[in-house]
Symmetry: C2
Subunit: 324 residues, 2 copies
Amino acid sequence: MTTRLELNPLLEPIRPQMEQMEALLQGQLAGLEEPLRTMVGHVLASGKRLRLALIILTGELFARPSAPFQQLGVAVEMLHTATLIHDDIVDQSPLRRGSQTLHTIWPLREAVLVGDHLHAQAAALVAELNRPAILNVFAKTLCTICAGEIRQTFVNEGRLRNRDEYTRSIEAKTASLVIGAVEMAGLLAEASKTQLAALRNFGREFGLAFQIADDVLDFIGTEAQLGKPPGSDLQQGLMTLPTLCYLEQTENDTAVSAVLSGKRDDEHIQSAIEAVRTSGAIDAALAQGRAHAQRSQRALEALPDNHARQILHALADYVVTRNR
Amino acid sequence: MTTRLELNPLLEPIRPQMEQMEALLQGQLAGLEEPLRTMVGHVLASGKRLRLALIILTGELFARPSAPFQQLGVAVEMLHTATLIHDDIVDQSPLRRGSQTLHTIWPLREAVLVGDHLHAQAAALVAELNRPAILNVFAKTLCTICAGEIRQTFVNEGRLRNRDEYTRSIEAKTASLVIGAVEMAGLLAEASKTQLAALRNFGREFGLAFQIADDVLDFIGTEAQLGKPPGSDLQQGLMTLPTLCYLEQTENDTAVSAVLSGKRDDEHIQSAIEAVRTSGAIDAALAQGRAHAQRSQRALEALPDNHARQILHALADYVVTRNR
């Protein structure tokens, strides 16, 4: 087992830039009228700001002044938050990052509009960067995320059948925004075509590793670590990598199949979680996560070698060993 | 009473451009995967494409090649459609333009995502125009629309108190996208600052006139003309200009107050519609609509004088005399 890494010490070298970016984010918030400000503030309050760190680090990789990267970071965080708000509506999730989701506090209609507003604010911030190529990536990324979500809600009825379908699904849902974030940062840094390809590759593998770790945590994390009860994917009938690995390995499964066939009371969920946890599925899933993390590290080799690259390298280890 | 104008003969001179734009729109649609294509196609099928005509005409006003204006038009139609989909969710409307609304055919969650996808596609099309200033207007317009909608859902509980609040509300809801459309077209045509200000002014007054006519039609139109039962604003507890004018003029109202206090069965709605119809409120509201249309025509005087300007002038008459 790899040693568990903590996020904050890793990001210590870019703390000033992260704090400036946070101030920029709060400034955007302060410009909103009520009740929009409270609603957006509620959702933006938490979050690891991991995508933001990737954007700042891409700027540092190319030794560029930090300000436009901070603006891009704020835009990406807003876009990300917008997709989370609509996601939670789509998945009917009651909790996110330990807080009630927006649509459970305010009427659903307002939650839809707050998501739209964040989309628009994010696009406005990117437009201000005056670089159409960046906005192009921004808009296409949003298209990919939405198309993926729509596919997921329909596929769900027939269920993910194998790891390939799973990878395609999390690539659209999670990796695409990481790819978009580092690609936009690369464009802002005027990276070469080869470097942009390396950044996209890094983003893809990093994003896949991140989501696999998330999906594993949903089985092995505690409610305190997750900010929501474990097993919420299964609860929603969502098949993720640990479940797929478990079903690959288990010939006479009853526990998970019961949940997938609709028995979603606490007792059945607990038995299913226990079955997956005690099988080799968690290790198998984590092995796939680590393989993606390692591929993301290899992608870094085509990029300038400096302190930022070292942090990106360490972050790839972090995402697959984190416990929240 | 002004003579009623028909839309199609007015737009005959720009029919080729309108048809090319329609083909472009269908091409965008064809590029989507199912079920997204069917869902988006359902919503895009109807619509007057009036904003598109304004964009094409702005290009003609400055004698510019039509292609980029067609692309901008498609983007604006997609953005407009996205806002309608989310609007119908927010207002829980069952019908739009004579068809079932998206969220009544497909699950609400998918309707939310289709709206997001259209936002993103629209932004991608605008980004491809390679003009950050245009994208800036695009994003800010979307912010204004969302902020206005959010305000409306909250104000609604306290209700619009006067014509100023009404104007502010329809400026955000409807006029802002018309302003945005002609401003973006003006930027694309490289209009001067004075001309841009005139275009924005035209868009504002045209948009206000358009929405007032819409709100009047909700009282005097037939179900066949409206594509939904008349009185649907009142049904939703939404106060529009005819209601405000009626309440200004009527000292001892009971019919409308009953609906506004929550009695929304067919009988109460019918009595309220009848009360507003037979008062002077419709004429008073239409007079305000015509005043805005005339102001939009005066704004045109600062713009190049050619066939396009004449059509824009005639369109302003059309919007306040149309019956659907």
